[in-house]
């Protein structure tokens, strides 16, 4: 059975000398994602909305805080340029929706980014070290969880006054908790794997093991959860705005626009319908992308 044939046979039939490019798991996932029509369509729609938000001033002759005294709370009208109509102060609704998109998307992305950085680091550290460190860190998360969110936000507003930055902080501070729990759970299962042990046996420091071996392997579920967090944050911001805790006039967000529209729903439906379409469309798109990512990153459990 163990005859002394040389092992290096693979070398003898050496092919071309240039190095082959490997196909990483990310690469495979990307291919699977781009085969998913709903996800690709959603990405295109989101890109269009984002581009419109970025180049908003070029797309409309009006300013977002400019009052057009001739048309106060008028319906959509292509002739005078107010294609989505105007609001109760005579401001063009189209440009206000685009400026609202800036705020809503920025809140969504930034708060999610904040929660991502804190949650992933925190969860990976807790899960990797385990034991008492894990216990203390996760009990702190539990305590934070049990704080009533609205109370927390209102307290922040009272102490620091209203500004957009605070909304980021408040939302990020709440969203990272779930992220930390997800990452911790994933880390617990990853750290028993042999490649972590191999790194440990080689003498790689814990810090490097976490960032080189643990985090890249937990990113799959994290990315999926992230695409679901963005719409959640946008919704929460809308909710805060609806309660009057959101951004300050004349700046606006989709939540503010919807809440204004809801007040006059009988007289001027368009003030509710247009911002609501944008919000709903965005939420749908993020959810489709999240779905697509989940299938792409974890082909086993489809």
């Amino acid at each position: 059975m163990f005859n002394k044939s040389r092992n290096a046979t693979a070398l003898e039939k050496s092919g071309p000398v240039e190095e082959f490019e490997g196909r990483s798991l990310w690469h495979d996932a990307r291919i699977r994602l781009f085969r998913n029509k709903a996800a690709v369509g959603s990405m295109i729609i989101l890109a269009i909305i984002a581009l419109m938000a970025i180049f908003a001033p070029m797309l409309s002759p009006f300013e977002y805080d400019e009052i057009d005294w001739g048309y106060i709370q008028e319906g959509p009208n292509w002739e005078n340029g107010h294609i989505f109509g105007t609001d109760g102060n005579g401001r063009d609704l189209f440009i206000r929706i685009l400026y609202g998109a800036r705020v809503s998307l920025a809140v969504g992305l930034l708060a999610t980014a904040v929660s991502l950085v804190i949650g992933v680091t925190y969860g990976a550290i807790a899960g990797y070290f385990g034991g008492r460190i894990d216990n203390i860190m996760m009990r702190f998360v539990d305590v934070m969880y049990s704080l009533p969110f609205m109370f927390f936000v209102i307290m922040l507003m009272v102490v620091f006054g209203r500004n957009i930055f605070l909304i980021f902080v408040a939302l990020g501070a709440v969203e990272w908790l779930t992220m930390a729990r997800i990452v911790r759970g994933q880390t617990l299962s990853i750290r028993r794997r042999e490649f972590i042990e191999a790194a440990h046996a080689t003498g790689v420091s814990s810090f490097k093991i976490i960032f080189r071996h643990v985090i890249p392997n937990v990113l799959g579920p994290v990315i999926v959860y992230m695409t679901l967090t963005i719409p959640q944050v946008i919704l929460t911001e809308s909710f805060l705005s609806f309660l009057g805790l959101g951004v300050q006039e004349p700046l606006t967000s989709w939540g503010v626009l919807i809440s204004e529209g809801a007040k006059v729903i009988e007289a001027s439906t368009w003030m509710l319908v247009y911002p609501a379409i944008f919000l709903a469309l965005t939420l749908f798109c993020f959810n489709f992308i999240g779905d697509g990512l989940r299938d792409a990153l974890d082909p086993k459990d489809r």
Partner: protein, 331 residues
Amino acid sequence: MNAIPETPLLSVRDLRVHFSLPGKGLFGKPRTLKAVDGVDFDLFPGETLGIVGESGCGKSTLGRAILQLIPPTAGQVVWLGKDIVGTRDRDLQPLRRDLQIIFQDPLASLNPRMTIGEIIAEPLVTHKADLGKAEIRNRVKTMMARVGLLPQMINRYPHEFSGGQCQRIGIARAMILEPKLIVCDEPVSALDVSIQAQIVNLLQDLQRDFGLSMLFISHDLSVVRHICQRILVLYLGNVMELADRDTIYAAPKHPYTKALISAVPIPDPELERSKERIVLKGDLPSPINPPSGCVFRTRCPFAKEKCATDIPMIETLGPSHQVACHFHGRM
């Protein structure tokens, strides 16, 4: 192997690894699992020591405890004359360069998100970062060629390789720092038989060329016979017998060793039919609640009353033959 140098590279003295488990029920007393319970042996430079036993006998735990991947509960691991048990992680770091491990599941031991170039380079990056990127890459390619992998594959990912190739990657990673000791934890038992032979031969070649010592953990006696000079038989975390390969196969003294060896098929059908077989009854007892006296007594065909009360001491029979059984001479 005739002239074994006098000073051992590694001495393990009364090594114990106990895990405490939560008790049964809400108020149960915490229980202790004695995975390794007092193991002694020496390993000399350039030698391969086989550690055999059924799964669950604590052989993997023993290997990891020697490398300080699992903290031992008691005992000594003397590496190059210095006891390393209880050393802080930071102080172990320079020692780890000389102590490497190869795992049973080749794919699971490779980070799926890294290219194999990055995987094999990791020990170099950790211990010899001053070499520079180009030199590290060079050494990785040289080592890949040495273990029978095409160096052009350096940018590929583990999932693009077969099990045998993955094990070669694992070996390359373990070898890149030219360590003094490699713990091989069942390195071939997850592979096809035809590939097992290639990997075992590769390990032997490397051992000869680099003057490595190896601890070869396995349950497969035919593989162990092929590669090891001495063999240690472990049962429920206790040493049953330790002897030269030829001694242990020709004249095993411990009933457990006899049973293991008689279970290995002999290629010659004549001999196979005529050989005396010792079949073990029952299952491996739980290491949480091991039998009193001799741990093997619940399955030993020769067990007597004395076996239940007295723990058999390790007796030295020859220059390198030790056995732990009350009745080893009278069977």
